[in-house]
């Protein structure tokens, strides 16, 4: 575990930088988290996805999969790859302050 300062607040993160406690995340942290994973600007579509990740995590206790995000928000999977290049499932969770998606076992 390590501590990082995001948007002026100290947060505890795991080895890969995911928040240990998703509840400390606030919207003003998203921009800085996004630039750490190579997403320079957060557009409206980014925010649709981020907000869904937050509400879904609150409801289910788990980070949503790409299929779930796409089905529930209507943002096509292809677009998710454009918004969060290369590893969208991980990057969406990272920027939203929710745990690294489990992938399924």
């Amino acid at each position: 575990m390590a501590t990082e300062t995001i948007a002026g607040t100290e947060v505890q993160v795991d080895e890969e930088g995911f928040f240990v406690d998703p509840n400390v995340w606030t919207e003003d942290m998203a921009g800085e988290l996004a630039s750490q994973v190579g997403v320079d600007e957060l557009t409206e579509d980014h925010w649709t996805v981020i907000k869904f990740c937050r509400t879904d995590f609150d409801a289910k206790g788990e980070s949503p999969t790409l299929r779930r995000v796409s089905t529930e928000t209507g943002v096509p999977t292809k677009q998710l790859f454009a918004l969060f290049p290369k590893k969208p499932a991980k990057k969406m969770s990272y920027v939203s302050g929710v745990p690294k998606p489990k992938g399924c076992v």
């Binding site: 299929r67 999977t77 292809k78 790859f81 290369k86 489990k102 076992v105």
Partner: protein
């Protein structure tokens, strides 16, 4: 008269009725519904393409495994009306229930990926998740002279998460034995970032892939297949060329789950992960592959889950709390070719670790290590499945995972 209706007479449903019939009194009527008269031993599908098993080895009539005092109805399920506690069968018949167990599993849906089903399906594009698919692939392999073999996972989760790895290992072994391994390029593509989802096991399994000269393409999320150009295309537009493609299709729960409003985006039923009770209805359970649980979709999990469920169920119907809690225990032999295999054992909280798996009488088996004993463990499983598991007899396996024999230092590597 109270009514228990079980939907699906596969691995989980069959075990449930065998375990519950003796413990529920005569005031409980038990009915089980399945669309298929044949029970398939699905773990056997893996071996058919390599000529180890034939179709005859993996099929038996379902009725043989249904105990007396339980009615088997052979019919497709059209939908469930959870508000009215009724099941509509495809023919129009309606079954009332007091308690419902959903055990209709998850099925391969090649139709969900553009380009899979077409003129090349079962010619140069295959699956081995159905008996017909496995038999067609046997025919394709028999005369194959070599080229690029690509094994590709379309989506997570899918049942038996180790099956594609085993398929790669067996293909390596099979083409060696045919003397043409040097003519065959094998590539495994997976949606995950590593060979397997759990870190310690992933490290061991990547080592095995490498030692067998099997290339791996990770974070690969297929969008479509172009059978004319013979390439798979991912959402981020990476292409993998093939001569023979073997896919693990998108796995989805039955369509009636969606029609009944009981499923998630893949028609798997959200349940409490310790008791299998539906998150929405307190007279509906989902067991086995049909449930949306954060553990493997596997026969071994269905077995451990059914053990817990059948302990709890008599309490639940009496209005008492369910005291047994499922821990996500999974236990899988992994065939690795050349007469060897590995074994992994894990649960919700503990990932697969190396060490020994103690088993009274036959064990110990080595965990995460290729041994001949693990191969024989896997081959013995067919007999165990038909003769002990389905009839609900006692097996010397604990439903709860144990740390005995496991080496824990590697955690967190």
């Amino acid at each position: 008269m109270n009514k228990l209706v079980v939907l699906g007479a596969g691995t989980a449903g069959t075990m449930v009725v065998n375990k519950l019939r003796p413990v529920l009194g005569e005031e409980w009527q038990i009915t089980i519904v399945d669309q298929d008269e044949t029970h398939y031993y699905q773990p056997g599908f893996l071996f058919i393409p390599f000529g180890v098993y034939t179709k005859q080895d993996v099929v038996k009539p379902k009725q043989r495994f249904i105990p007396s005092g339980v009615d088997l109805i052979v019919s497709e399920i059209d939908r469930v009306d959870p508000e009215a506690s009724q099941v509509y069968l495809a023919g129009g018949n309606i079954l009332d229930y007091d308690q419902l167990v959903i055990a209709t599993g998850t099925e391969p849906r090649p139709d969900m990926t553009p380009g899979l089903i077409g003129d090349e399906w079962r010619k140069t594009v295959h699956d081995f998740y159905t008996v017909d698919g496995a038999v067609a692939l046997r025919e394709a392999f028999k005369d194959w002279e070599g080229g690029r073999l690509v094994v590709s996972v379309m989506e997570l989760p899918f049942k038996c998460p180790v099956a594609p790895l085993e398929f790669n290992f067996l293909a390596d072994s099979y083409f060696h034995e045919r003397g043409i391994r040097d003519q065959v390029d094998i590539t495994y593509s997976t949606v995950t970032s590593e060979a397997f989802t759990k870190p310690v096991a992933a490290k061991h399994l990547s080592g095995v892939l490498e030692s067998k000269n099997i290339a791996i393409e990770t974070d690969y999320y297929p969008e479509r297949v172009d059978p004319e150009r013979k390439v798979i295309v991912s959402y981020d537009e990476r292409e993998i060329p093939y001569d023979l493609l073997v896919v693990i299709p998108i796995n989805m729960g039955a369509e009636y789950i969606e029609r009944s409003g009981l499923g998630n985006e893949l028609n798997h039923v959200p349940v409490d992960k310790h008791t299998f009770l539906s998150t929405d209805y307190d007279n509906i359970f989902a067991l086995g592959d049909a449930a949306d649980l954060p553990t493997s979709k596997a026969g071994s999990v269905a077995h451990f889950a059914v053990e817990m469920f059948t302990e709890n169920f008599p309490n639940h119907i009496e209005g008492r709390p369910m005291t047994e809690r499922f821990d996500g225990h999974a236990n899988c032999f992994i065939e690795s070719g050349f007469g060897k295999g590995l074994l992994i054992d894990f649960n919700y909280d503990t990932e697969p670790l190396p060490g020994k798996y103690p088993l009274p009488g036959i064990g110990p088996f080595s965990l995460l290590k290729e041994t001949e004993a693990n191969h024989w463990g896997k081959m013995m499983f067919k007999w165990t499945y038909w003769n002990l598991l389905l009839p609900g007899r006692e097996l010397p396996l604990e439903a709860q995972m144990s740390l005995a024999g496991k080496i824990q230092e590697e955690v967190g590597v």
